[in-house]
């Protein structure tokens, strides 16, 4: 085996092959920086060049591209609070608070070192296990996958904030939003209001952007300061981050292990792996007080897991020809096009190709993390820019990212609607991670539960895998309540002194309950198999929701469930009313409907810089030209068409 492994390495270091690998890595880094763009966009760029390349070069390019996307996606997650890819959502929780405290370079350095470690770890595991992994992967049947989904849901316990009621409700809300669209078991359409767009449910990227990025952007907008408020760590932060990693190397090792395992299980998908790693580090840490407010471990955990995931995900991809994650689906498609067939032969007669893939993965991770580390310090200076200059670009970026989901105007409207929900969830202390976990796991939990019941019935609880994961779930629940992550803890202490107006949060709770009632009504109209899942969720959630209403209305004392960030923040922090950023963004979208997205963004930039940033003629012109130019450039290379308006410009 060893000689084969080394031989593969030698082929890869052939100058031509190596150049292609580097090109793949560079492309992956550039694409990964933009939220919403992932392996798919990269592949469509690469594809025309793949023909005529030899197998090794083509594979190296593909792997180089796929491997570093989670690495560079970290930039926006940490610096701007915009989840850069579906597997770096959890990084936002602690990474962005660190950036706000002026420690962006530290967080980035720790993140990239963790990515490097995770990526290499995944490659090592892949090397040793790829030939014997088949029976292990086959152990994970629908019953085990169903149990894993429940295990994932148990993570909500650690991430739900001080109020358990609200945490569970947020998760239930997420599960119900996640079950919009075709029912996995029957294909019936649930809660679609007859809208085509909702047939396949709401895209994850839109939910992640609106729930996490939108509220942060609108808050910064109102504060009118730079992202970084604390004193900058400067170059020191860079070293500090690497030291942080070294101090927490065991955390990184455990999380890389989690990442590889979750990645290797086909059907789990990459979007939960960061949450599981994050919840794991919270549960196993003694001092949990800083989580959610800027704990470096909250960055190290998800980042070591999400790069390790790719190594794990390659196992089912190569052995069964079944993608272990979204980017692997694309990789598999690319392989088919260059005439390589994934399948059992990849671990027998084509094993040297497999080793080439593994080495490419390892080297790509080293290159990707190295380059990103080099850029961490200069790029982290973005957080020092006055936000009114950054805001239009960030709004452009999230709109562009959301628009990648299905390339229709509805993407933007949904971003706005759920952005509003995100703003209120943040304001009233509803756990946003709990909502997101519910949303991500809704389809998996439902379809695997349905399959497990039909395949095994009660016998599913006789399977050792199910029992082990079940036990893990109980352990996780036990540990989760001992100190939960809460981004609002500090505000919470202040609030106890003064009485607040509870009407706003009461109204928001009513809105959520109305949706739950609607979900209940909709699910009883479906057939048994089609409706049972949302029905059960709404039946569990509704009494809790009523209890919350009672607390908000009748409870005299201070209670963890009663919270309104808006009313406990010191006066003068926010310089604009909460709806102002929403109106700006809504204005942009309304204008897009009329004249198309590109001209609308021109108008938006010009107005915003002139009115909000109060910049002069030349500066406004330059910034607008730069922003629009960037957008058109990307649109050109990725063959994207932007939303057209009623007034049609044939560009």
């Amino acid at each position: 085996m060893l000689d084969l492994v080394l031989q593969a390495l030698a082929t890869l270091f052939d100058p031509e092959n190596f150049t292609y690998l580097v090109l793949g890595v560079l492309l992956g880094l550039i694409i990964g920086v933009f939220p919403g763009l992932g392996g798919i966009a990269g592949l469509s760029l690469l594809l025309p060049f793949l023909y005529g390349m030899d197998e090794v070069s083509a594979l190296a390019t593909l792997i180089g591209l796929v491997a570093v996307i989670p690495t560079s996606a970290t930039f926006t997650s940490v610096l701007m609070g915009i989840p850069g890819s579906s597997s770096s959502q959890a990084t936002v929780l602690d990474g962005f608070p660190l950036a706000k405290q002026g420690q962006a370079s530290r967080a980035l350095a720790a993140a990239f070192t963790s990515s490097l470690f995770g990526g290499l770890f995944g490659a090592v595991i892949l090397t040793f296990f790829v030939q014997i992994a088949r029976p292990v992967i086959l152990i994970f049947g629908s019953a085990e996958l169903c149990m894993l989904a429940i295990f994932g849901l148990s993570m909500v316990g650690s991430l739900s904030g001080k109020s358990v009621v609200k945490g569970i409700l947020a998760c239930g809300f997420g599960l119900l939003v996640g079950s919009i669209g075709a029912a996995p078991a029957t294909g019936e359409f649930r809660m679609t209001f007859g809208v085509d767009y909702l047939y396949d449910g709401i895209p994850l990227v839109i939910i992640a952007l609106s729930i996490f990025a939108f509220p942060e952007i609108s808050e910064l907008f109102r504060k009118e300061s730079a992202i970084a408020e604390g004193t900058d760590l400067g170059k020191r932060g860079w070293l500090l981050g690497i030291k942080d990693f070294y101090k927490n190397k065991w955390v990184a090792l455990r999380c890389a292990g989690i990442g590889t395992i979750v990645g290797a299980i086909p059907g789990m998908g990459g979007s939960v792996v960061d949450w599981i790693a994050y919840a794991h580090v919270v549960q196993t840490s003694k001092d949990k007080s800083r989580f959610g407010k800027g704990d470096i471990r909250g960055v190290i955990a998800p980042e070591s897991a999400n790069n390790a995931k790719e190594g794990g995900a390659l196992m089912p991809t190569l052995i069964f020809g079944i993608p272990g994650s979204g980017s692997m689906a694309v990789f598999l498609g690319g392989m088919v096009l260059i005439g390589i067939e994934a399948g059992p032969s990849m671990v027998t007669k084509d094993i040297e190709l497999t080793y080439t893939i593994i080495w490419s993965l390892a080297i790509a991770n080293v290159l990707g993390a190295g380059l990103s580390l080099g850029l961490a310090h200069p790029i982290s200076k973005l957080t020092k820019i006055k936000f009114s200059y950054l805001a239009p670009f960030m709004i452009m970026v999230i709109s562009f990212a959301a628009f990648q989901a299905t390339k229709s105007m509805s993407d933007l409207w949904l971003l706005l609607i759920f952005g509003l929900i995100g703003i209120f969830m943040k304001r009233f202390g509803w756990s946003r991670p709990a909502f997101l976990i519910g949303f991500v796991l809704a389809t998996q939990a439902e379809s695997y539960l349905n399959m497990a019941v039909q395949f095994y019935g009660w016998d599913m609880f006789k399977r050792p895998g199910v029992l082990i994961i079940g036990a893990l779930t109980l352990v996780s629940i036990y540990y989760s309540r001992r100190g939960a992550v809460d981004e609002n803890a500090e505000l919470m202490q202040k609030i106890s002194a003064k009485e607040i107006n509870r009407t706003p949060q009461f109204i928001f709770a009513l809105v959520v309950i109305t949706f739950m009632l609607f979900a209940f009504g909709d699910s009883i109209r479906q057939s048994f198999l089609g409706g049972i899942f949302p029905l059960t969720i709404s039946i569990i959630s509704l009494p809790l929701a009523l209890w919350l209403l009672y607390l908000l209305w009748g409870q005299k004392k201070v209670h963890a469930a009663i919270f309104d960030a808006e009313q406990s923040v010191d006066e003068g922090v926010f310089k604009a009313p909460w709806f102002e950023p929403v109106l700006w963004i809504a204005g942009l979208y309304v204008l897009s409907v009329i004249i198309g997205f590109i001209p609308a963004i021109m108008v938006f930039f010009v107005c915003f810089f002139t009115l909000k940033a109060k910049s002069g003629l030349i500066k406004t012109a330059a910034l607008t030209a730069g922003g629009v130019g960037l957008l058109l450039l990307f649109g050109h290379f990725l063959n994207l068409q932007f939303p057209q308006g009623f007034i049609h410009f044939p560009i």
Binding site: L43, Y51, Y199, A329, L337, M602, N639
Partner: protein
């Protein structure tokens, strides 16, 4: 808002929007002359028609799937060989089992060859069953290219008796005999099988209807995302019967046959140029089992043969319905469509490119690995397949709807 700000905004907007509109005006496409009814004036179409133009190819499926791979494999060759070298863009618009993307095509398309749609058996099914969500109508389109495929149904040896498992096969005739005996054994013992399905309105209709005609008691478990997930469940032992389309079968299921983990039952067959059902040559010499340590390789008999051997006639409404839906699902698996009114000259340009593509050594090298052995048909062959795939008689349609209603309690 001060006066200065208003002035600045007005000035900049004038400049930016002005520049934008000016550039749009320069870029406008004035080589396509459309009549008021949307048809093109043929006189303006020459070999340079596609020069500098972009063809958008809608694939109503996700990136990475079968339909997507088909389009992405062909696109670079189209770009290279169609006269004028138009840029080809693949637009993936998945949703509602391909209904969303096909609906969008129906809304946006003009008969100018610049927007084309690649459909699949999954797109044909809801159309044939009059799904109310379908707003595309195959009667308004014609095929540029058609690509048939097939598939094989196989079972796990666990559910077959020892004797039958060891039933040695050296000819197709013996393989047919074996398949029939396996089916008889399963029906006589009243064995209920489970099958991992994508849903009752997907291409799986053909498979599940086939099981029913053979008298097999198969319960479909829905919610599988793609055939790959179904095969994985088969490998895990959760389901005992499975089918894969040709390429996937040869690539991933034949190795299971070679390690005695699967026994092939029947293929869906292929259509000859007269539209008759024949054995699918893709499976010539594919493994059918291991006997005395040696792998036996013969073709897999098609459904019709098995059905006939079980004592049924290849006629009557039940058979006609099977044949109609098999043709739509497999025979016309992939269709590349454009509106009926598209000038023949434009179609000829496409065909010129496709003919050249087939001679391209790069194409010859990778085509069968990427797409399978079936030829990508144009002209008469494509038209025949198109007709078979999209025109199902009213009686067959009603029969299938009733069958679905009865079997899955579905109201379609």
């Amino acid at each position: 808002m001060s006066k200065g700000q208003v002035r600045q905004i007005s000035l900049l907007l004038f400049l930016f929007l002005g520049a934008y509109i000016f550039i749009s005006f320069l870029n406008r496409d004035d080589t396509v002359f459309e009549e008021a009814d949307g048809s093109l004036r043929e006189t303006h179409i020459d070999d340079n028609y596609f020069a500098g133009k972009t063809i958008e190819w809608i694939i109503p499926f996700k990136e990475g799937g079968g339909g997507d791979t088909w389009a992405r494999f062909n696109a670079p060759f189209f770009q290279k060989h169609i006269p004028g070298n138009p840029a080809i863009i693949i637009s993936n618009i998945p949703g509602g089992g391909s209904i969303k993307g096909a609906n969008l095509f129906a809304e946006r398309v003009r008969p100018n060859g610049l927007l084309i749609l690649g459909t699949s058996g999954t797109t044909q099914m809801p159309y044939l069953l009059d799904d109310p969500r379908v707003r595309y109508d195959y009667r308004h389109y014609k095929p540029i290219m058609a690509y048939p495929t097939g598939g094989v149904v196989y079972v796990s040896p666990d559910i077959v008796s020892e004797d039958l498992r060891n039933f040695k096969v050296t000819t197709v005739e013996e393989q047919l005999e074996k398949a029939v005996r396996v089916i008889r054994e399963l029906t006589e013992n009243g064995v209920q099988l489970k099958y991992g399905s994508q849903g009752p309105t997907s291409l799986d209709i053909v498979t599940m209807y086939s099981f029913d005609l053979l008298g097999l008691d198969v319960r479909a478990v829905f919610g599988f995302r793609g055939r790959g997930a179904g095969r994985l469940a088969f490998e895990r032992g959760e389901v005992k019967i499975d089918y894969q389309t040709s390429t996937a079968y040869l690539k991933n299921s034949v190795p299971l046959v070679e390690s005695s983990e699967a026994i092939p039952l029947f293929s869906f067959g292929a259509l000859d140029e007269n539209g008759n059902l024949i054995r699918d040559e893709s499976f010539n010499n594919s493994a059918v089992g291991v006997f005395d340590g040696e792998i036996a390789r013969v073709n897999v008999p098609h459904f019709g043969e098995v059905y006939q051997r079980l004592g049924h006639q290849l006629e009557g409404i039940e058979w006609d319905t099977w044949f109609a839906f098999m043709s739509a699902g497999f025979g016309g698996m992939k269709l590349l469509l454009t509106p009926k009114e598209t000038p023949d000259k434009i179609i000829a340009l496409f065909h010129q490119g496709i003919k050249k593509m087939k001679d391209d050594p790069e194409y010859r090298k990778n085509k069968s690995k990427a797409l399978g052995e079936y030829p990508q048909l144009i002209g008469e062959g494509a038209n025949n397949i198109f007709t078979l795939a999209t025109q199902v008689g009213e009686t067959e349609k009603e029969f299938m709807k009733n069958w679905l209603r009865k079997t899955y309690d579905l109201n379609i």
